[in-house]
Symmetry: C2
Subunit: 565 residues, 2 copies
């Protein structure tokens, strides 16, 4: 069967290597490598030690983390930056520690492969109670079937290669996590017979539906007075940023992004309007989008936080809503239309709505930051100061809470990356994500903004960062507790308080990195300068904030959310 | 319907309070309190904040932890020490972080209630993408159905009280975790109609099966030459320690325990033989058990680690195997016989096997510890030194790895408690368990033994310990890596190494507790004395060990396990 053009690339991969004689473990490693994975995160444990040895002798590096959930976040960030990520863990006591980070990757469409060791098939006779076992041998697989787009237990040598292909293909196609469990006595088994990688070509678009949809979209755009694009994170996941830009530039349609989609376009682009976050965002952006009579959502998730807790006010009757999963124009749906095809065909039709004046972005336009050295440091001033120091080599990583809300006001220049769990909003993402991002892209320097509560969850992962000689700059927002919760649910509740650590002294415990204790603008400025200049090590800035201080975005969000708590 | 005697206690509870007018949240809190829960662990988050406010105004205290998995371990230890434990967390990004600790509670039969907030029912119309959501609104419930003995989403006011009763009854009966999810708009709903707590009486034993089983057991015991009891952890969970002792003392049958069951009997009891751990344990105990012609296993899990990775060599044809779940004598099974009834009826029959001479326990018999102040500290010498300082007010908590294997050689006196995840063997149990145990029993002082790898996972929970002014003594075994894995899978693998923190300096970061840096026997002796004398704060001993040093038990185990890796 000659490969079609759509499958040529994948078939080529298959032809390039002989798989005869490979063990199941070796085949998995080869396939991971072909998917662009150069580093696997994880924590060793007896059921996975055999696989670690195989990795150790392979071109793929092992990055040992302090915890499995951190390994999950690191693999997620690695995937966001470089296309696919992986972690390898031991059975249950290892794997079940990664449930939350895998769930986050599912929710936010990050292609992560979770590989778990398991008791050998031969160890399972007579249903023994083996260590790390929960209920029965399938428990962990069943849990991850809920949290992954595809999963398999490699208990059959005859199907193992095909099943590995199936899971990795699903991860690549859907940009969701996949689960591969290897009973440890299957690792070195060499399947008999020949393996032919199936040409699982991507489904082509339904041509009639595509044509009809594009025609209608063009009519709608050309008939509109005020068109706008909302560019979402899927454009990044499916490498469609340039396609979207081609459309916007061809048709001169202004572009906004969502919080999760921040950095899919440089924010100094002349067509860029700002972040659309409903009532949470800047008023002029909200107004610009909501008075539009043609809203083209491309790869955007319509999530609550992403769109300002449904304070976003979009009339579906004016929307073209295209994602990797669906295409809806006004109130009807087109099935079987690929996002890439839709954007490409739409661009070819050269739609031409009237041009719109784009409001100025006050953050992009702001003049030089005027330091007030003795003023206590405040969140918004801190963001303005950071704004001056971003460059192409920065990847900004924001944890949730005001770390995220404040960071949305950073101006993304050129190809600065911005990573954040802006939909699933799991605390503790940022520090391990810095590890993952910098392992994936050693040429980038992560700038992490993280709340104290989130830092207490996963800040330990600085250990791995120090051990590997990485140099992120980590800014801990210290206000003695969960400030977002305090704002959501006012009242003097002690349960929102946490112990104020001396975060800047952690480098003394870790034996690496440099800590800075920051209370004023002057101290912040100096610490940031020093940390930026010192590329030899991790910099940890402990920034003391007033409990009443927060970004404007958080204050607006809290007002909306607190009604539901 | 008049209550039977078996249900009198529970019915009394129901009569004692009127539930009319209570909201679902208030009813849950009342029932938790009736189950003996005085403290709930957790991490606040918006979907559970309403429940936290209710707790705040109730007789139950909130113990905010750094992470949800730590809250799970703390609740598990609380349950082991005081009968039932609970944690309350937010939806998915909170709850899914507790999968591993809940799985551990399931595997080791610890009665823990996991309470999770969730989006309100009214928020779910039109299937919005709410933050913290994974796949659909049932995902988290479905995950915990795999890891709990019972679970419910309280989405129906008419059944809510009954469902709360059902889950709590299952937790109490089966000593396994239960899951209760509360959509946040159901919290304050007051069900109409009357709630009558169902008299869910414990199933009585099948009298015929019980009689026949007891008769056979007595014949077997009386006909034996060498009888022995293996006392397991279920005796502790179901409060059957005294019943087992009554049987053993009546019949003068020697007693051994398993690793997980350590501390179900004081180890200075004249009938105590030692820990039976197959080839992993002391040779004279192994021989004593395996040459027995009548082995009475009471409440023991037949797990791999518990019984020395199946190096245990028990002939089922000589066993009476009674647990809360089954009763097997030789090769046949009796259904419907309660463990408590079996032990009680057996005792009444006054079996009398021949008496056996009990080998001396070298650890209990050992003379005074002779300090060699300048010698580098070694694991076995450290355990001998600790042995001298145990008393009734100590709860020993061992993490996994050599922390556990070495600690099995401690001699449990009187009512010293010993906690460890000896079956599920999840790293990171010990530090949060110290929090849970001391919150449950402030009169006890935890003595924690934990490896450096495990400490890097959950040592952050010292934050909560410092914040609450608790005073455990935490001994970190520092050897730069996962030493158990190094022994299981020899080879110079870097992935088993971890960054050597300066653990003893953590108190400076936390602003509380005192650290000790220990390299010699003299330093260990001084640090332990000092930490024991200083009851005002947590003591953190960083004990530097040679990588080649380990307990005899671990060395024996590693020899067995390494063949399977």
């Amino acid at each position: 069967m000659p490969p079609s053009s759509a499958t040529a690339k994948r078939s080529k991969r298959t032809e390039n290597h002989a798989v005869a004689g490979l063990s199941i473990g070796s085949y998995l490693i080869r396939r991971l490598h072909e998917c662009g994975i150069r580093d696997v995160f994880g924590v060793p444990g007896d059921y996975i030690l055999g696989f670690y040895s195989l990795l150790n002798d392979s071109p793929i590096n092992i990055v040992s983390c302090t915890r499995e959930d951190c390994a999950g976040f690191a693999a997620d960030a690695y995937a966001r930056v470089s296309g696919m990520g992986a972690l390898a863990v031991t059975y249950c006591a290892g794997g079940l520690n990664a449930c939350n980070s895998i769930a986050g990757a599912y929710a936010e469409k990050s292609p992560v492969v979770l590989i778990s060791g398991a008791p050998g098939i031969s160890e399972r006779e007579n249903k023994p109670l083996l260590h790390h076992m929960v209920r029965d041998f399938r428990t962990q697989l069943e849990v991850f079937e809920k949290l992954c787009v595809a999963g398999v237990e490699l208990d059959d040598a005859q199907t193992a290669f095909r099943e590995i292909d199936r899971v990795l293909d699903a991860v690549a196609s859907y940009k969701r996590p996949g689960y591969i469990e290897i009973p440890r006595d299957m690792l070195h088994v060499v399947p008999s017979g020949r393996h032919r990688a199936e040409s699982r070509s991507e489904q082509a678009s339904d041509e009639d539906a595509l044509r009809e949809a594009v025609e209608e979209a063009v009519r709608m755009i050309n008939g509109s007075q005020k068109a706008v694009i909302i560019a979402g994170v899927e454009l990044h996941r499916f490498s469609l940023q340039d396609a979207m830009l081609a459309l916007a530039e061809e048709a001169r349609i202004p572009i906004t992004t969502t919080m999760l989609g921040k950095s899919v376009i440089r924010e100094t682009h002349p067509l860029f309007v700002g972040l659309y976050e409903g009532a949470m965002g800047r008023e002029e952006v909200t107004q610009f989008v909501e008075e539009s009579d043609c809203v083209i959502l491309l790869g955007s998730f319509m999530t609550d936080i992403n769109l300002g807790i449904y304070t976003a006010n979009l009339d579906p009757g004016k929307c073209i809503y295209a994602t990797s999963e669906q295409l809806r124009i006004r109130h009807h749906h087109f099935h079987g239309v690929r996002l890439a095809d839709f954007i490409e065909q739409l661009t070819r039709k050269k739609p031409r709505p009237p041009q719109r004046a784009i409001p100025k972005n006050p953050y992009a336009e702001q003049g030089k930051f005027e330091l007030r050295p003795r003023d206590p440091i405040r969140v918004e001033r801190m963001i303005s100061r950071i704004n001056e120091s971003l460059d192409d080599k920065t990847v900004v990583i924001a944890d949730v809470g005001d770390a995220l809300f404040a960071a949305t006001e950073l101006v993304i220049r050129q190809k600065t990356e911005f990573l954040s769990p802006a939909y699933y909003t799991s605390m503790g993402f940022a520090v391990p994500a810095a590890l993952g991002a910098q392992v994936a892209r050693p040429d980038l320097r992560p700038l992490v903004i993280v709340g104290d509560g989130a830092f207490q969850m996963t800040g330990n992962e600085l250990s791995t960062i120090v051990r590997r000689g990485l140099n992120p700059i980590v800014i801990v927002l210290e206000n003695g507790g969960y400030n977002t919760e305090r704002l959501l649910h006012p009242g003097n509740y002690k349960f929102n308080d946490i112990l104020p650590w001396k975060y800047h002294r952690l480098p003394e415990v870790l034996g690496g990195g440099r800590g800075y204790d920051v209370r004023t603008e002057g101290q912040f400025d100096q610490a940031l300068r020093s940390a930026l200049a010192d590329t030899s090590q991790m910099g940890l800035l402990e920034v003391h904030l007033d409990q009443r201080d927060c970004s404007k975005a958080l204050r607006r969000l809290a007002e909306k959310l607190s009604k539901k708590v």
